[in-house]
Amino acid sequence: MSIPTTAGRPEKAIRALDVSDSLWRQSIRQLRKNKLAVAGFAFIAFMFLICFIGPLFSPYADGKINPANMHQPPSAKHWLGTDLLGRDVLTRLLQAGRISLTVGLASMALSMTIGTVLGIVSGYYRGVVDQIIMRVADLLFTIPGLPILFIMGALMSDWKIPTDYRLYLVMLMLSIIGWPGVARLVRSQMLTLREREYMQAADVLGLSDKRKLFRHLLPNVFPLLIVIATLSIGGAILSESALSFFGLGVMPPTPTWGNMIDAANNVIDFEKRPWLWIPPGLAIFLTVIAINIFGDGLRDVLDPKQNTSR
């Protein structure tokens, strides 16, 4: 029924395309008006740039150990001082930022993918599949996130996982506790969307399930997904830092912001050498603030129904 109309009047089809395109442009324009969100985005971009490019310009990027130069307070040569192996703290902070930001992004991507697919499937098919998926999600909600993360971190240590691999396992762990929340949200959206008229039309047209799920339903939860994805990066960075701080996440020599703060566990470093552990803490704090502010701005624009702030 739609085919003859579009075929007969091509200019109308083009105009329809224009309209759907400008929805995104409209959102971006609206977002631009929110100065706080723009500032948040600018800071995130700055953080990524400086972490990924900054170390390239540092004379200390090789991380060479220099015992003669250990525990120097901040100076013109070493802006944030040096650590107990004589490495430049600023360079290490940026290198740690690469890892922490990557962990945040990767675990977000993983939990969003798992959560979205399972949420769509369980909300669309309902019945037994839904029951199984949601009961597993319930189960993971039963135990608070932090103890689960700690247990999994300890498991890694006891299985003697090489430190290089721990990084990837931490991403996986974070997505294990992250996906149930996403799945629940997507599922509840699915339950209402699947009753809409355009889905009836899709049924009538005899589209395949795959096409219905991923071409018709998924795009409609996309705005919501972008918002949760943004906010969950911040959460993932916070969880990773806590885990690594307690020695259960990513371990040295791979630097992350969390395991750099580990220096504070040493009484002398804690009391006399604050340049070792305060900068990474501030880096986490500022990055997560920026992400939360930007995410909230996104929510205002993309998901006005769930608007909690204004």
Binding site: L36, R135, D138, L139, F141, T142, I143, P144, L146, P147, F150, I151, M152, A154, L155, D158, W159, G234, L238, S241, A242, F245, F246, G258, I261, A264, F270, E271, P274, W277, I278, G281, I284, F285, V288, I289, I291, N292, I293, D296, T308, S309, R310
Partner: protein, 317 residues
């Protein structure tokens, strides 16, 4: 309602059994335990200990025993501390509860007051400042802010103790003891309030914004009531109503301790006990604690659902 309660209780039982399976196998499939890691024990003594605690039995049998004991109210026996897990919980849990109850009180108090004020003065300078503050509070890494405050107030300014619950070696009793505990509580409570107040303030603010628009608030204003009365008696009451469902969700926080805060401030609570047991891999205690948390969460959610229904009969269960 009765069938709902029955079904709900059955489901709670099932989900807890699922949780117990998860917890038991997660811990017991880990190589190395307290007996293994204890280098001071001879081989014979290790074998003997395994015999006593049933660690050499097949894993399924151990699970069934563990579960059966739990139904009898026995959460296991701590190998590191040589005491029943529940006894240990009783020693530590009230310290955790003290910290949690005080900080929960202040969190709610500030969240309600600030939430109402910012909703009333929406878009004002105060509102914007509070919003930024809320984002900041929601973005703080809890362990870092704890360390930072200890550094500032205990190490540099020396006006507050760095941790613990009473001064080391102190034998204070009576009021002196209370004063010491209060002094030691100040920092951890401040951090816990800071961490919790952000999202709750937001919650009350948005509830309040919704209520203020209602007709009965306009009626209250129209009949000439004082603005304070309108806000705190007419509007707040209705904005608070949905919040009682949050009470259930506070349950794990109240009794389950706060792992990170207690560890950082060396507070002798149940979260600190958990972290201690972690380093020596005292599995009976770790399993008991995790199971305890699971029970608290499930019961808390149940209470919330019931409160949700009783506060708003339109909600079907």
């Amino acid at each position: 309602m009765r069938t709902y309660l029955l079904r709900r209780c059955l489901y709670m039982l099932l989900i807890l059994i699922g949780a117990s399976l998860l917890i038991f196998f997660l811990y017991s499939l880990t190589p190395g335990d307290y007996v293994d890691n204890n280098l001071s024990l001879s081989e014979e003594r290790k074998a003997e200990l395994r015999e006593i605690h049933g660690l050499n039995k097949p894993i399924l049998e151990r699970y069934v025993n563990w579960m059966a004991n739990m139904f009898k109210g026995d959460f296991g026996y701590s190998l590191a501390q040589q005491r029943p897990v529940l006894d240990l919980f009783q020693d530590y849990i009230w310290n955790s509860f003290l910290l949690a109850v005080v900080s929960t009180f202040f969190t709610w108090f500030f969240a309600v007051v600030v939430g109402v004020l910012t909703a009333y003065k929406q878009y004002s300078l105060l509102d914007t400042l509070v919003m930024v503050g809320i984002f900041a509070a929601m973005s703080i890494p809890s362990f870092f802010i704890g360390l930072f405050l200890i550094k500032v107030f205990a190490v540099d300014l020396k006006i507050l103790p760095p941790g613990g619950m009473i001064t080391t070696g102190s034998r204070a009793v009576g009021w002196e003891y209370v004063a010491q505990v209060l002094h030691h509580m100040l920092l951890p409570v401040a951090v816990m309030v800071l961490l919790g107040v952000g999202s709750l303030t937001r919650y009350f603010r948005s509830n309040m914004l919704e209520v203020i628009k209602q007709d009965y608030v306009r009626t209250a204003r129209a009949k000439g009531l004082k603005e304070r009365t309108v806000l705190y008696r007419h509007a707040l009451k209705n904005a608070m109503l949905p919040a009682i469902t949050l009470i259930g969700f506070e349950l794990p926080g109240l009794f389950g301790g706060s792992i990170i805060i207690e560890k950082i401030f060396n507070w002798p609570g149940i979260g600190q006990l958990y972290m201690q047991s972690f380093t020596v891999r005292d599995y009976p205690l770790l399993m008991g604690f995790t199971m305890f948390l699971a029970i608290l969460t499930v019961v808390g959610t149940f209470i919330s659902d019931i409160l949700y229904h009783t506060s708003d009969p339109r909600v079907r269960l």
